[in-house]
Symmetry: C2
Subunit: 188 residues, 2 copies
Amino acid sequence: MTTRERFITSTAELFGRQGYTGTAVKQIVEAAGAPFGSMYHHFPGGKEQLGVDTLRWSGAIYAQLIDIFYGGGADIVSATAAFFDAAADTVRDADYADACPIATVALEVASTNEPLRQASAEVFESWLASFDDYLRIGGIASPRDVSVSVFTLLEGAFLLARTTRDVAPIRIAGRTAAEVVGAAIPQS
Amino acid sequence: MTTRERFITSTAELFGRQGYTGTAVKQIVEAAGAPFGSMYHHFPGGKEQLGVDTLRWSGAIYAQLIDIFYGGGADIVSATAAFFDAAADTVRDADYADACPIATVALEVASTNEPLRQASAEVFESWLASFDDYLRIGGIASPRDVSVSVFTLLEGAFLLARTTRDVAPIRIAGRTAAEVVGAAIPQS
DNA sequence: TTGGGACTAGAGCGATCACTCTACGCCGAG
DNA sequence: CTCGGCGTAGAGTGATCGCTCTAGTCCCAA
């Protein structure tokens, strides 16, 4: 892994746990095992540029997860259930840290940092667009209401699970999400 | 309004926009129009105690909102739709700031500050418990799955709306929430 | 009138913030 | 072997962080 990659992966993990303002640059360079100067060599725009690049990278990683669960002609109802179940296991195993590496940052920068807000918005929109494609393949002609509902169920469940340190909300939201997806498929 | 109250209301608004670590104590005392010493007189525990007290106060305010929409024998399906619609209007009118004064703080402190995490968890749990009561009155015997689903839809929608600066997700989540509530009512 | 607690008021503290600066090691090109 | 630039390396910058400290003001009770 290159130094630049180590910066981004370390930052992604720290952002998921402590958010943007809560993460010090000093902490990032220590986690990346790199000196101070290297960071400003690879990211001349400083913390903000590193934040934007990290959000985009994390977004791409999660987009791959959507492909894994919904790609290959999987049934969209069971794929949804499996996705939430896997998320619940991941959150529990990570001791309720870094459920979604975007959400924490997105909320705190939405009204204070326009470049970061925009990067978050683009990542969310790319997830929804990708999810829409899979829902259409699954037979839902106008999927945006379904994709938004499933997305909000997942993100809200992450919030509740991390705060209460209990994965039950994720499993509950997963069952509801599967029902929402199933109800939107036209019956043959 | 007393000085102490001005501290809490000012802090609540700042937390909703910038989160906990993103809000400086200096900023709080300026917003409250009070001197530095007053803050540490009223909140000897410093920023953390002020944070806990603010979370609890904000939680109580929102609990009143639940009572307004679901109390008085209102139909729980239309109350749910009305709640989300009102939330969408509020978020738009506030220029996408401070949708939920707890969520932003909750995410950033969930893994880093135990007193604040616990306060957030207690607020969320109190909302769910209150909401459960209204759902039971509305005819849902085991309402926890419904209350959690509606909660996650709302919080996820706030996240998406603030990030994309568009209230459409809140309206979409509201329709889904109303359907989830309606589907859980036993048919006579 | 005077004493004392509640509260206001803000200068100043060490620590930490994001960031800049200069110097040096490495390595392929000529 | 020498050169040049890419990247490593970390001490040092002013600004800001949360917080402490002492002094002063207010008002009610004795």
